[in-house]
Symmetry: C2
Subunit: 178 residues, 2 copies
DNA sequence: AATGAAAACGCTTGCCG
DNA sequence: CGGCAAGCGTTTTCATT
């Protein structure tokens, strides 16, 4: 898992500030790239008050460190014929490990997200398909995965917003850093 | 809603082009941009077998038509101090409209996604914060929204994958789009 | 009307102060 | 971290189909 990226939860109060590879300027660059992933380095430099070369160096380090994991275009699902979204809770059986189930879920292209969760269910996945018929087909595929027991499907009626840039880590609104 | 995206009219080349504003070549470009949102037009042209100018024109139309809605950098949440994710089901009361509730949810920066759903709950939202203390604070804020009744919180133990490019609309695996 | 080619412009990117 | 310079991609324009 991606836990070792920036070190354990220890906030390291006092002492070496070098431990945090992501400083405040990096956070501003990250926030700008989350809003516009195609912003040029010159643009970013103007936004944060740095030269393009400096921004380039910082972004390269952020990418190498695994902080920035990629850049992706977002698409209107309806426009590409994916009009049905559902959240599916997956109850486990004891016939397979969670890792194997997760790997099998990853093989299904219609499963966009997969979370291992606490509670009665082992996973919650987000599925996006074209029609309710396809949803039925997909649920059948899910249930054929070894280790998958009962499924609990919640149909999404409308997506109000999704994968929004979360700047809670940029300010100290709610993070309560201390 | 966004079904009739008055896009480019009938296309000649590429084979059987119907009235669909998004033809097969567009889908390949979209798929490439979902994988790498910073791909240059020259790169895209090489990928799909088109010139850079043609790709540029097509992408511009896709953006104008609202098919491509944006480009965003993806960040490792742990690296920016957001180590706690939760899925929160929101039960409604009858004191407010769903639109007002959704708007209020949109004011909270830690709420990354918001889905109106069928079933007992009115919404399911994804919340991302730094600590479980912050999660408690956030749930308090959620419950103070008029129209929000009981909440049902599922803590995410690990994110196996998230917001993956869904190419179910690109192939005919499961869409049966016809 | 869409495509491909060419040209001017602007950005990227390595290197040094 | 900033500035410079070389190389490359972008973006407009134009001719072609």
């Amino acid at each position: 898992m991606t836990q070792e990226t920036s070190g354990p939860p220890g906030k390291g109060p006092g002492g070496g500030a070098h431990n945090d590879p992501v400083d405040q300027l990096d956070r501003k660059i990250i926030a700008a790239l989350r809003v516009n992933g195609r912003a040029t380095y010159a643009d970013l430099g103007r936004s944060v008050g740095l030269s393009a070369s400096s921004v380039h160096e910082r972004v390269g380090k952020l990418e190498a460190a695994g902080v920035i994991t990629g850049y992706h275009a977002t698409v209107d699902p309806n426009a590409v014929g994916l009009g049905v979204t559902a959240l599916v809770g997956i109850h486990p059986t004891d016939t397979a490990t969670e890792d194997d189930v997760a790997a099998a879920l990853g093989e299904l292209p219609e499963v966009e997200s997969c979370y291992a969760v606490a509670g009665d269910e082992a996973f919650v996945v987000k599925v996006r398909v074209a029609t309710v018929d396809d949803l039925e087909l997909s649920l059948g595929r899910l249930r054929r995965i070894p280790g998958v027991g009962r499924t609990n499907t919640t149909v999404v009626l409308s997506t109000r917003f999704e994968s929004r840039p979360n700047n809670a880590g940029l300010h100290e609104d709610l993070t309560g850093g201390a």
